[in-house]
């Protein structure tokens, strides 16, 4: 389970800073998840269920990022997504050094093709709830000075409640809606709507403390990843200790249906001037444009979400093209997206 350094979240400035961190945190999960997703060869239908599961998680992370932006805008803050240093780099730590152990060791998130190890070694670690229902033996002991991601969001929510309606000074026209269910992405203008929005992030990520499903009846991320790792769906089971077990229909995995992308493409030199280098550069340029577009979307042009969507689809096509290109030279394996933001070279 991942901890972060406990933060004091009391003042409006604290809340705004924390929400900025939250945007960064939600953004940080998307490249690793999408990299794994795009590494799954769409022509191999055996892995379709796995792809659908990861995809649904990645889309919810996008939702969470949007929610965090809406809440920040609502309390008079300004999302700053396309600023050098804000978009995470890989391999690298999560924002706020989440996962840093009390002994100081960092949790480093790599970019890797899909594998069961990627799911258990990285994704389930990121998403592990405070108290995983199926595996839990006891509630994790409180660690002094540290908190979980859930506790972090809970602290933000509590602080908003304590600060009250007076902090909701943001321009309602900045609120972004659409593409998601209106009960998931909605205008945040009040304490109640802010707390409802934050609760969605928490539940979709971790589930509730008693149920692996969120309020929409969707399995929380950790359990979706666990389904993939176990190879079976999580289903109700009255004989299981917590009422569920991984004994549903199988979720098959065919390792041959994954493009052989190198781990951490940003660490692998590409032949200068090569076609694959050009493709990798273009991916970064398009990703940078996407962050530009999202920044515009959450800073006064909510209708630009449609434009950003076009860039997301372009990224997907480019990523899958890239992952089918052998790097060549002395490197074994295929290229992959690096997710490098650059203001100067951004181009859709």
């Amino acid at each position: 389970m991942l901890y972060l350094k406990a933060q004091t979240i009391e003042t409006l400035a604290d809340v705004q800073a924390a929400l900025g961190n939250a945007i960064q945190l939600e953004l940080s999960t998307i490249p690793p998840y999408l990299t794994a997703l795009y590494s799954i060869d769409p022509s191999n239908t055996t892995n379709s269920e796995i792809a659908a599961l990861i995809r649904s998680i990645a889309i919810e992370e996008m939702l969470h990022m949007a929610i965090a932006c809406n809440v920040l805008n609502a309390v008079g803050g300004t999302p700053a997504i396309n600023v050098a240093g804000f978009p995470p780099t890989y391999p690298g730590p999560l924002p706020m050094n989440i996962g840093t152990q009390p002994d100081g060791s960092l949790f480093i998130v790599p970019l890797q093709k899909f594998s069961i190890d990627a799911v258990t070694g990285t994704f389930m670690v990121i998403e592990e709830p405070e108290d995983p229902i199926v595996f839990a033996t006891a509630r994790a002991a409180a660690v002094p000075d540290f908190q979980t991601i859930g506790q972090f969001y809970s602290a933000v929510s509590t602080a908003i409640g304590n600060l009250g309606q007076s902090i909701f000074t943001g321009n309602p026209a900045l609120q972004v809606t659409g593409w998601f269910d209106s009960d998931e992405l909605f205008p945040v203008t009040t304490v109640a709507t802010a707390q409802q929005a934050i609760a969605i992030i928490m539940q979709q990520g971790e589930g509730t403390t008693t149920n692996p499903f969120d309020e929409q009846g969707e399995l929380a991320h950790y359990y979706k990843f666990a389904e993939i790792a176990k190879g079976f769906q999580l289903v109700p089971n009255s004989t299981a200790p917590k009422g569920y077990s991984y004994t549903g229909p199988p979720i098959p995995f065919d390792p041959t249906g994954v493009f052989p992308m190198v781990t951490n493409p940003s660490l692998v030199a590409l032949p200068a001037g090569s076609m694959v280098a050009q493709m990798a550069d273009q991916f970064d340029a398009t990703y940078s444009s996407l962050l530009n577009a999202l920044n515009g979307t959450f800073n006064g042009a909510p209708e630009n979400l449609n434009v950003a969507m076009g860039l997301m689809y372009s990224l997907r096509v480019q990523a899958q093209d890239l992952m089918q290109q052998p790097i060549g030279g002395s490197t074994t394996g295929n290229a992959g997206p690096r997710w490098l933001f650059s203001e100067a070279t951004a181009q859709g």
């Binding site: 769409p42 239908t45 379709s48 269920e49 792809a51 659908a52 599961l53 995809r55 649904s56 889309i59 969001y153 809970s154 929510s157 659409g178 593409w179 998601f180 269910d181 209106s182 009960d183 998931e184 109640a192 707390q195 409802q196 934050i198 928490m202 539940q203 499903f213 309020e215 929409q216 009846g217 969707e218 399995l219 769906q233 289903v235 109700p236 549903g248 229909p249 032949p271 076609m275 050009q278 273009q282 398009t286 940078s288 444009s289 530009n292 577009a293 515009g296 449609n306 434009v307 969507m309 076009g310 689809y313 372009s314 997907r316 096509v317 899958q320 100067a344 070279t345 181009q347 859709g348």
Partner: protein, 653 residues
């Protein structure tokens, strides 16, 4: 005013053109006979499959283009000068950084020689701030020729062509201390800029460095909204043509079409696409002494100036091939301009200094609608009333038909002729320019009624020529079909291409929508990565997204189809169908389906009203758990999960 004026910037770098090539063969539009292999890369010249880039995205980009030099007027306001030290030199000319790239789009599989760039944005940027940015009006390439002369120049890599259009209205940034930008802003008060770039050295060899890239060298200057967008009013120098049995009409001599303008006592000549290169992407080839001059009544060449330095390394990238020459304008006011190479006259203005051209020359129209083409006539570069124009159907520059020209494979599919039946389009055969040197050519249409069976509508060509030229050469000029061996006075590329769509009036059912989408599915394999357009389930699930992109204006880079070949009538039926799916959907779905074949795990509404959350998440959860809305929360979740499992089971079938 256009780019060919005293105030301009030159840029050089690369372009990327990434078209899908499965649609290169019209017979691939016959979805009933389509073979999976036609989506695969060609394995040899004898087996083109889906040609050289079947997975192309359609994107067109300016890549690594930087400002190499500028030209402006000295402080006296009249003396032109050039500089490589203006503060914008070294800045980038590039596309949008907040939306997807522009798209490169053929008009039709039987007219692939007017590929237009749609939805591109052009910016001048220092990497953090834009100095200007604006949309590029969709424009086709023209004036393609085999410019590279040396080894390795055969095929498209040796070819060069021109794009000219207008950017704007632009958003200006702070010009800072840039003399060029300040003059450009003053010269373009309405925010319209003229852009022209030459593309050559295009790499079509997949897997090799620079695949889909080529050289791009261009110029940006002010545009006058009252002038043509796609060519410069001015002096247009033409080569003579000969007929080559293998390559068709071929320019005589080493040079190609060259536009010039005269402003004050300066003649601006654009050699950018007029000179050959040694090899693809190289400096200009040393063809000899190139002189600019004028012709007297006996067509004797009178020298005005000599082109200096053109073979120097980097000359082309630095100048884009544009040179200003100080002249006495009265000398050439009513004499034909010409270019000689080592004493041989190689390029000349047309007889009488007449130039006739359609501004926009690519049209898509629905059945029974008209294309209104603005045609300009000039005499010695000045728009003139009373110029008589001949108009005629000209299919000679369209491609394909039976027998199919590239037909190494046995395909049991008929390749239908373009431009048939001829009477689908009608237009006046003679026009006369009015005041301002303009006249509107109205091309009326009727319903083509699927003459090519498996592809919508029909494509036509219409050529405008000065009446005297048509009398001398024929209209279309007989050399275009090999019926004469030499010709001077026209540009084979100057004709109007017109795609006329079929009438269509069918109910908005899947049965009617499916064939429309199926064609896009097979011809654009890149779509398969996003959605299976042959799957009713997937289309219905992603109806909201499809409704969005099929509803965008075709100027939008996200507009579907990328090919911009969907008639208004079919689009309306498709949108009606998608709208019905969206309306019938229990809730808007998030972006799309699983990669292939299986439905996305749909989000489901909680049964009953959503919980109203309390001050803390923990309290909220407690409140939700105790909510009395007729169905307990636990039950609702179980129901949702059952739905989900049921959905999965269905998906696994």
């Amino acid at each position: 005013m256009t780019y060919l004026n005293p105030i301009r910037l030159h840029f050089a770098g690369q372009f990327q053109a990434d078209p899908s090539t499965v649609n290169n063969d019209i017979r691939h539009y016959d979805t009933s006979e389509f073979k999976a292999g036609w989506q695969q890369l060609q394995t040899s010249r004898a087996d083109p499959n889906g040609w050289w880039n079947p997975d192309g995205s359609g994107s067109f980009r300016l890549v690594g283009c930087t400002v190499t030099s500028v030209a402006y007027l000295e402080s006296d306001g009249t003396t032109p000068t050039t500089s490589t030290t203006d503060s914008i030199v070294g800045m980038q000319i590039m596309g949008a950084n907040t939306r997807v790239a522009g798209k490169l789009v053929d008009l039709d599989p039987q007219q692939q020689m007017v590929s237009q760039i749609w939805g591109m944005l052009v910016r001048l940027t220092n990497g953090t701030t834009d100095l200007f940015s604006g949309p590029f009006a969709a424009a086709p390439f023209t004036d393609m020729w085999n410019r590279a002369q040396g080894a390795g120049s055969s095929g498209d890599i040796g070819a060069s062509a021109v794009y000219q259009s207008v950017i704007g209205p632009v958003t200006w940034g702070d010009p800072g201390d840039s003399t060029l930008l300040k003059q450009l802003m003053a010269a373009a008060p309405e925010g319209y800029l003229s852009i022209k770039f030459n593309v050559d050295s295009y790499n079509m060899n997949i897997g090799t460095p620079g695949f889909t890239l080529g050289r791009c060298v261009g110029t940006i200057g002010p545009a006058s909204p009252s002038e043509p967008q796609f060519f410069s009013l001015g002096r247009h120098l033409l080569p003579s043509y000969t007929f080559d049995p293998r390559n068709g009409p071929t320019p005589v001599g080493p040079m190609y079409f060259m536009p010039c303008t005269v402003q004050g006592s300066t003649l601006y000549a654009d050699f950018g696409n007029a000179l050959p290169t040694m090899t693809p992407g190289s400096d200009m080839a040393p063809i000899g002494t190139v002189q600019l001059g004028w012709l007297d009544a006996n067509e004797n060449f009178n020298q005005l100036a000599t082109l200096a330095d053109y073979t120097n390394a980097g000359w082309y990238e630095q100048t884009a091939g544009i040179q200003g020459f100080t002249i006495d304008p009265s000398t050439i006011q009513s004499n034909r301009l010409a270019v000689s190479v080592d004493g041989t006259t190689t390029l000349m203005e047309n007889s009488g200094g007449i130039h006739v051209r359609a501004d926009n020359f690519v049209y898509r129209v629905n059945a029974n609608e008209a294309a209104n083409v603005t045609v300009w006539g000039t005499l010695y570069g000045t728009p003139a009333a009373g110029i008589q124009i001949s108009v005629a159907a000209d299919a000679t520059q369209l491609q394909g038909g039976a027998p199919y020209p590239h037909d190494p494979l046995t395909k049991n599919i008929t390749a239908y002729d373009p431009a048939q039946p001829e009477n689908i389009i009608s237009f006046p055969q003679a026009l006369t320019t009015g005041a301002g040197g303009q006249v509107t050519l109205t091309i009326n249409t009727t319903n083509p009624n699927t003459p090519r069976v498996y592809i919508d509508g029909q494509v036509f060509g219409v050529r405008c020529l000065p009446a005297a030229t048509a009398t001398a050469l024929g209209n279309p000029p007989t050399i275009l079909s090999g019926q004469s061996t030499t010709a001077f006075g026209f540009n084979p590329w100057d004709f109007v291409s017109l795609l006329v769509w079929d009438e269509y009036d069918q109910p908005a059912t899947w049965a009617n929508v499916a064939p429309i989408l199926a064609q896009y599915s097979v011809l654009y394999p890149v779509m398969d990565q996003l959605i299976d357009l042959t799957s009713e389930t997937e289309v219905n699930q992603q109806a909201a997204l499809l409704q969005l992109v099929f509803g965008l204006p075709i100027t939008d880079p996200n507009s579907m189809p990328v090919t911009r070949d969907l008639s208004d009538a079919k689009r309306a039926v498709l949108l009606q169908y998608l709208g019905a799916q969206v309306a019938a959907s229990p809730s808007p779905t998030v972006v799309g389906a699983a990669p292939h074949g299986k439905p996305v795990i749909m989000k489901r509404k909680v049964v009953g009203k959503p919980p109203q959350l309390s001050a803390t998440p923990a309290a909220a959860a407690a409140a939700a758990a105790s909510a009395d809305d007729g169905v307990t929360t636990k039950d609702s979740k179980t129901l949702a999960m059952r739905n989900r499992l049921g959905n999965r089971t269905a998906g696994n079938k």
